[in-house]
């Protein structure tokens, strides 16, 4: 009896801890949501009680063309996801099933490209993009984001592929399946949860990337991150408008993340316990 009581207490405590941690992590987003519905002068007061208004949203919609920024964001993140997977799947396939003595080193070396701050290569990339005419184009951004996210995509797919029993693939080969058939009919369906979470992660990462999108675009290919950046101001009040713009920008990806959270968690913990 005593044991169950203490166990119950433990359960209540862990639940409370989990909830408060979740709230703590979510708090900035919650605060942004609240601020979006305040007026500019209310936004500077730390009060939770106010009459909500859509003023900032009106202002944001009348000032900039949300849809064209959103369309660019969708095109870019969709393009990045497809292109990255197209490159990552063959790469991970060869490394997972036909490893050589250098495979581990190659994997580590790929990660090393993520160890340098982006601003370090801003000027070379800018000049390169300028000379091949990729500045301020959607394809220019897709290429740079793909290059940035490829190490993560390859690492993740590689990990998932390693979980697939080699014997099944070998059996299909004995049955006369070509490499193409082997990958399409066996490997991909078997590692689908992992691939889906890789795709989702790529989508989220490229949706939220701000450094390159601000620096490599001007008017034509600017995605939602640039849209947010235009609402901060050194002179004049801007918190409410900035929050409204941010909410509009993150809403689609938040909804997507929420709808697919099961898939995402399953994919991320896939193979965690053997």
């Amino acid at each position: 009896m005593k044991r169950t009581a203490s166990r119950q207490l433990q359960y209540v405590l862990t639940t409370a801890l989990a909830w408060s941690l979740a709230l703590l992590i979510f708090f900035p987003i919650l605060w942004m949501m609240l601020t979006a519905f305040k007026t500019e002068s209310q936004a500077y007061q730390l009060s939770l009680f106010f009459t909500p208004t859509l003023e900032s949203f009106h202002e944001v919609f009348s000032r900039s063309d949300y849809m064209s920024f959103a369309a660019n964001s969708i095109a870019i993140s969709g393009g990045v996801t497809v292109l990255s997977l197209l490159v990552a799947i063959p790469a991970a396939y060869s490394m997972a099933f036909f490893p050589t003595s250098k495979t581990q080193k190659i994997l580590l070396w790929m990660m090393s490209t993520k160890m340098m701050p982006s601003v370090g290569v801003l000027l070379p990339v800018y000049l390169l993009w300028k000379s091949i005419g990729l500045l301020d184009t959607v394809s220019g951004l897709i290429i740079i984001y793909t290059l940035i996210n490829l190490p993560i995509a390859v690492w993740m797919t590689y990990t998932y592929f390693c979980e697939v029993p080699k014997e099944i693939l070998e059996a299909s080969r004995i049955d006369g399946a070509s490499t193409w058939q082997e990958v399409c009919y066996l490997l991909l369906p078997m590692s689908l949860p992992g691939l889906a979470s890789t795709a989702l992660l790529l989508l989220i990462l490229s949706w939220n990337e701000a450094f390159w999108s601000i620096n490599l675009t001007s008017a034509n290919a600017a995605p939602l991150t640039v849209f947010i950046a235009s609402y901060s101001s050194p002179e004049g009040l801007f918190w409410a408008k900035l929050s409204a713009a941010s909410l509009l920008a993150v809403a689609p990806i938040m909804v997507l993340g929420w709808l697919t959270q099961k898939q995402l968690v399953r994919g991320l913990t896939f193979g965690a316990v053997k």
């Binding site: 002068s41 000027l123 500045l135 008017a219 235009s230 901060s232 050194p234 004049g236 009040l237």
Partner: protein, 441 residues
């Protein structure tokens, strides 16, 4: 198979026609404008369809960004000669430096009706290099003192038209002790355009300067020590808590919500403080010139946001046309019609200040014009200085070392180090920067 090909060919033809149609619709010139996000620019963007209507062959594309992002973005573009922007919004700091590098088109051969002589001379001087004008001012600001008229009357204080820093310190004490507000609010957030803009005017007023004639840093001089000690002391005793993180916006909110007795900052704040929608003290704001010390020289700053056309633009004629429209007398009238005279871009044209409607709507107008006209970026210090600029040092290295010095002083204000230690570090930083830059022989 053949049917498929035929259908493909049909689609291809349609696509080609559409592409051609799109191309011919694009035959008009498209100007890409890099602009800062502030209320005046937002208004310009809103009214710009009027320009497109007058010039049907020109289409405008806007890129609106926050100040620091804008600066980084346009600098990358212009330094690599990329030509992604046809019109850029730049400040008094960049214009002469970029003109010197040959990055900007000179603003010559302007239309006669533009009336260049109507543009305030100090603003033009700040945007010129080698006697040539390189950008047209869109709005100009200086700094001044804002105070609470009601509290001053209640406490029996009178703010003179030209206060001194000694008086300001006295008032701050009374306001804090008997007025129930913070005596004074000042910028504390680190940055060359934040706390250092204000502090440099304070140092100027106390007879100091950043460098002597031989480009030796003078931050360890008695003038700097006096100024920074005064500033830290004043804010610690009578200022708001956490002053070291307050910039323009934070102070604006404090003053507009009735928590500050006095505030010394950009004249552009006047329009915001007098606007009852944004300010709870709209009917209680008084104003005076920026305080002076041993001298009035350089005690109020001069800054303008101006429109320039980079050399890399391929449509420089159309771009120049737009810049002239956006800074013209007619544009100012257009804003007055749309938003009222209080909100017209201030400080650019004498004719604005001859408008009776403006003087009535904006009681601060005369002060602003005075402050702007008396600010001379080429003679801003009591002892001679080798640089131009009032609240900044007009060399490219300043952005970097100005911010480092700002961080040291912000640290002293937060109590992380002593004023002496901060000044010692600042002196070393500034000296190192000019030695590396080859200024100091």
């Amino acid at each position: 198979m053949t049917r498929l090909t035929a259908r493909h060919a049909g689609r291809l033809a349609t696509a080609c026609t559409l592409a051609l149609a799109a191309l011919s619709a694009q035959a008009a010139t498209t100007l890409t404008i890099a602009a800062l996000n502030n209320p005046d620019m937002v208004e310009l963007k809103k009214l710009s369809p009027a320009f497109e209507k007058q010039n049907p062959d020109i289409k405008l594309n806007w890129v609106v960004l926050e100040e620091n992002v804008l600066r980084q973005r346009v600098t990358t573009d212009i330094a690599t000669n990329s030509g992604k922007f046809d019109v850029m919004m730049i400040g008094t700091y960049e214009a002469p430096l970029w003109a010197k590098k040959g990055w900007l088109n000179p603003m010559d051969n302007l239309a006669p009706e533009y009336d260049l002589n109507d543009v305030v001379k100090t603003a033009r001087d700040g945007l010129s290099y080698g006697g040539k004008l390189y950008a047209l001012p869109f709005y100009v600001e200086s700094s001044m003192t804002f105070y609470r008229k009601d509290l001053f009357a209640k406490l029996g204080l009178t703010m003179p038209e030209k206060p001194t820093y000694t008086q300001i310190a006295d008032y701050a004490k009374v306001l804090k002790e008997k007025g129930g507000v913070y005596g004074i609010c000042l910028r504390g957030k680190a940055g060359w355009g934040e706390n250092m803009a204000y502090l440099t005017t304070l140092v100027n007023a106390n007879g100091g300067r950043w460098f002597d004639e031989n480009w030796k840093a003078t931050i360890d001089s008695p003038e700097w020590k006096k100024s920074v000690n005064f500033y830290v002391d004043l804010l610690k005793k009578y200022g708001p808590p956490g002053a070291s993180t307050n910039g323009f916006n934070e102070n604006l909110t404090l003053f507009a919500s009735g928590k500050c007795g006095m505030w010394i900052d950009a004249t552009v704040a006047a329009g915001m403080l007098f606007n009852p929608k944004e300010s709870q003290v709209a009917d209680k704001v008084g104003f005076a010139q920026a305080p002076t010390g041993v001298t009035a020289k350089g005690s109020s700053w001069l800054w303008s946001w101006a429109l320039a056309v980079p050399k890399s633009s391929k449509q420089d004629d159309a771009a120049k046309k737009f810049v002239q429209w956006a800074t013209s007398k007619d544009y100012i009238k257009l804003v007055a019609k749309d938003l009222g005279w209080t909100s017209v871009p201030p400080g650019t044209r004498i004719s604005t200040y001859n408008q009776p409607d403006y003087i009535v709507a904006a009681p601060f107008a005369k002060f602003v014009l005075n402050a702007i006209q008396s600010a001379n970026p080429n003679d801003a210090t009591l002892k001679k200085a080798p640089y131009s600029g009032i609240q900044f040092v007009g060399i490219p290295e300043f952005q970097s070392f100005g911010t480092v010095v700002g961080q040291a002083i912000s640290g002293a204000l937060a109590g992380n180090m002593t004023v002496d230690a901060a000044l010692k570090a600042a002196q070393a930083t500034a000296n190192r920067a000019v030695i590396q830059g080859g200024y100091q022989k």
